[in-house]
């Protein structure tokens, strides 16, 4: 790595004692000796193992659940279903007033995606829990399912989630989050060229080497200690408190040492049910996702579809940009309404464009609920924007890097969401990339600066 201190030298301060120093990591000695304690290294005497019975169907009504055979299975201590969960219908962003509650801890009357949790089996060994899980009898009436966002938004599509009432998240601004800046139609009318393109992605997995999980111990004083790899301690504790209808003072969460997160461990999925199980059995409980669960059950990054329509002048200026973004939330909200909204705030990218129109939708389908992942709301948008930039440059016969300089935002430029740009550094990054990659651009671009006098 090369630290280029010559850029922004006027605003950088050196001479600090600890900041800017390559100090060794205080946690690494534990890592290399195998002594670092992750949640699953808390192996407690008498610990029960929790295995989920999961829906084999994408969308189905549950006519009945029969747990009697499973409960009789040797080694089984308890089988939990929806009726055991005090506040079974929840949504995690309710803590920041983003509703409605739309997801069940354990399915109640219906499943909306293949893999949804239906019943939780608690047994002395993992093997006994697996065997008993196979004996839980669920009578399903399979319902039509929808997997494609465009299909889901069509009239007459199967309704994925009754708590929403339609297959998209209803923002205060309506069916999508909107940004309106300038006059996009006038911009298109004025443009020398118009290019409309569609970009898509499929879901991807965080794939941390440590799977999601927790170990819960009843403490005997009516409190429960939850050793967890959540990325958000109180967010998880407070949601667990709501789901369990248990004062937060009864809950003690211990974590902070996580085997990789990447956004995959901010959903409150394993902790509430494991605490409930510990409460109802009086025993320590371990609920750790299998690798298969981590890959296919834990929330992925959402699939997205992004339609970009640009108006560009022959001289390289983008004069209008219209973006319609679709985020495939799967069957439940989790963090997706937030992510789609973050996309609206991010477009039209780090470029100054006078006329902008943005709509971002959060769409429900019968898929694994998606949620946060590294770059949430932005990563796929950046893929779409930057491929579009390449296409626009080639369309007008301009070097792709020079084309970006022409449109790059600088200090003081007004963004589409009506905040003036501060602290811009895109131009300097491109100048350095030009040098490092031996990709020359005209001198006038190398002489540019993100600074503007008076800004």
């Amino acid at each position: 790595m090369e630290l280029r201190k010559d850029y922004f030298a006027d605003v950088r301060k050196d001479g600090l004692h600890e900041i800017g120093q390559p100090r060794p990591r205080l946690d690494s000695p534990g890592h290399v000796t195998g002594k670092t304690a992750y949640f699953a290294d808390r192996i407690l005497p008498g610990m029960l193992h929790l295995k989920m019975v999961r829906s084999p169907h994408h969308h189905a009504r549950i006519r009945s659940i029969d747990t009697s055979e499973a409960e009789k299975h040797p080694g089984v201590v308890k089988v939990l279903t929806a009726k055991d969960v005090p506040h079974n219908v929840y949504t995690i962003l309710i803590l920041i007033q983003i509703g409605p509650e739309d997801e069940t801890v354990l399915a109640d009357g219906k499943v909306r995606w293949k893999g949804e949790a239906v019943a939780a089996v608690l047994a002395e060994t993992e093997r006994a829990a697996q065997e008993a899980a196979a004996k839980v009898k669920v009578d399903y009436e399979v319902l039509p399912a929808v997997f494609d966002m465009e299909e889901a938004l069509k009239p007459g599509a199967p309704l994925v989630n009754e708590y929403h009432g339609q297959n998209y998240y209803l923002y205060d601004s309506g069916e999508c989050r909107k940004v309106r800046f300038g006059d996009v139609d006038a911009g298109f009318a004025e443009a020398d060229h118009i290019l409309e393109q569609t970009y898509q992605s499929s879901p991807i997995e965080h794939a941390p080497t440590e799977t999601t999980g927790c170990v819960v111990a009843p403490e005997g004083n009516d409190r429960f200690t939850c050793y967890t790899n959540t990325q958000a301690m109180f967010f998880t504790l407070d949601n667990a408190s709501i789901i369990l209808q248990m004062p937060g003072s009864k809950l003690h969460f211990v974590g902070g040492t996580v085997g990789g997160g990447f956004g995959g461990k901010v959903d409150v999925i394993v902790e509430p049910i494991a605490i409930l199980a510990a409460k109802l059995t009086g025993r320590p409980v371990s609920f750790i996702y299998s690798r298969e669960e981590e890959m296919q059950i834990s929330s992925p990054r959402a699939a997205e579809k992004v339609v970009i329509k640009d108006g560009v002048m022959k001289d390289g200026r983008i004069v209008a940009r219209k973006v319609t973004g679709y985020t495939d939330a799967g069957a439940y909200s989790r963090h997706s309404p937030y992510g789609a909204q973050k996309g609206a705030a991010h477009y039209p990218g780090p470029y100054t464009i006078p006329n902008v129109w943005i709509d971002t939708y959060c769409v429900y389908t019968n898929r694994t609920p998606s949620s946060a992942m590294r770059g949430f709301g932005v990563t796929i948008g950046d893929f779409a924007l930057e491929v579009q930039m390449d296409k626009l440059a080639r369309l007008i016969g301009m070097d792709p890097l020079e084309f970006r300089f022409i449109n790059a935002y600088r200090d003081g430029d007004m963004k589409a969401h009506r905040q003036p740009t501060e602290g811009a550094a895109l131009i300097e990054c491109m100048q350095e990339a030009s040098r490092a990659a031996n990709w020359p651009v005209a001198d006038k671009y190398m002489a540019m600066s993100s600074y503007r006098k008076g800004a």
Partner: protein
């Protein structure tokens, strides 16, 4: 019921125990222990055999006998099995190769089973307690096979007559997009006089490319002369579709990779 391991000193006793329902043979563990870990509760009992012959390698007169418990790593390290080393090295990473066995690979479903692709091209023989059969016959019937495989025997190829290729997305250890093994006898001027070619991932288990084998006879290994063989390389294939690649992709690139292997 929990999982239980039974250890026997003879194949005969193990075969008897394997008749019980829910019982599976434990080789290197890479298939069956994984299945148990993943919640396959149909397996309740594992059987293993400690008979030393199962782990023995013998080479004489150009023939090799590989005990069924011989690992991929043992093959890669054996000085007289150099011809088989590329195929053995194609299996898993180092830890898996220290565990995965010759016998187990015969049961590995596509996209696994790269070593079996080599064995098929080499026309190996599979031994069980009461007899031997060609690997092709064994593979066809493996789903109902309940007898312990004891060994695999084969004629070791001349180095220049045997070629093996595994194509994977992830390097150096990814699982197969496809694998190809080819045993070609050629005259001094390079004309192919016999050809045995096996594919992996072109069905649920490794299979012969009989049309391509036939089309290669009498050819020299030039782009022009192998073209007819490449054109029929995909005959009778039903490639698997999995997260690595679709059947369409596998079928499309099979002749490309076969061509590269033949011209290499």
């Amino acid at each position: 019921m929990s999982l239980a391991l039974q250890t026997f000193s003879t194949v005969k006793d193990a075969n008897a125990a394997l008749q019980a329902s829910g019982t599976r043979y434990l080789g290197g563990g890479t298939l069956v222990v994984r299945a148990a870990n993943e919640g396959d509760v149909s397996v309740s009992s594992l059987v293993r055999v400690t008979e030393p012959s199962l782990s023995a390698v013998s080479v004489s007169g150009g023939k090799a006998r590989l005990g069924a418990s011989v690992t991929m790593a043992a093959i890669t390290r054996h000085p007289e099995l150099a011809a088989l080393a590329p195929a053995a090295r194609a299996v898993g990473g180092p830890a898996i190769r220290n565990m995965a066995t010759v016998g187990g690979n015969l049961f590995a479903p596509a996209p696994y089973g790269d070593f079996a692709v080599a064995l098929l091209a080499l026309n190996a023989t599979v031994a069980v307690e009461d007899g031997e059969m060609p690997v092709e016959t064994f593979l066809a019937g493996r789903d109902t096979s309940r007898a312990v495989v004891t060994a695999v025997s084969l004629s070791l190829p001349e180095a220049e007559s045997f070629r093996f290729l595994k194509v994977s997305r992830v390097k150096p250890k990814g699982v197969s997009v496809l694998s190809i093994a080819a045993l070609l006898q050629r005259t001094a001027d390079g004309t192919v006089t016999s050809a045995r070619i096996a594919h992996g991932c072109m069905a649920d288990r490794s299979m012969r490319a009989k049309a391509a084998e036939k089309a290669l006879l009498g050819c020299k290994l030039t782009p022009e002369e192998i073209a007819p063989a490449l054109a029929v390389a995909g005959e009778d294939i039903t490639p698997i579709t999995d997260p690595i690649a679709s059947a369409w992709y596998r079928a499309e690139v099979l002749p490309v990779h076969l061509g590269r292997l033949l011209l290499s």
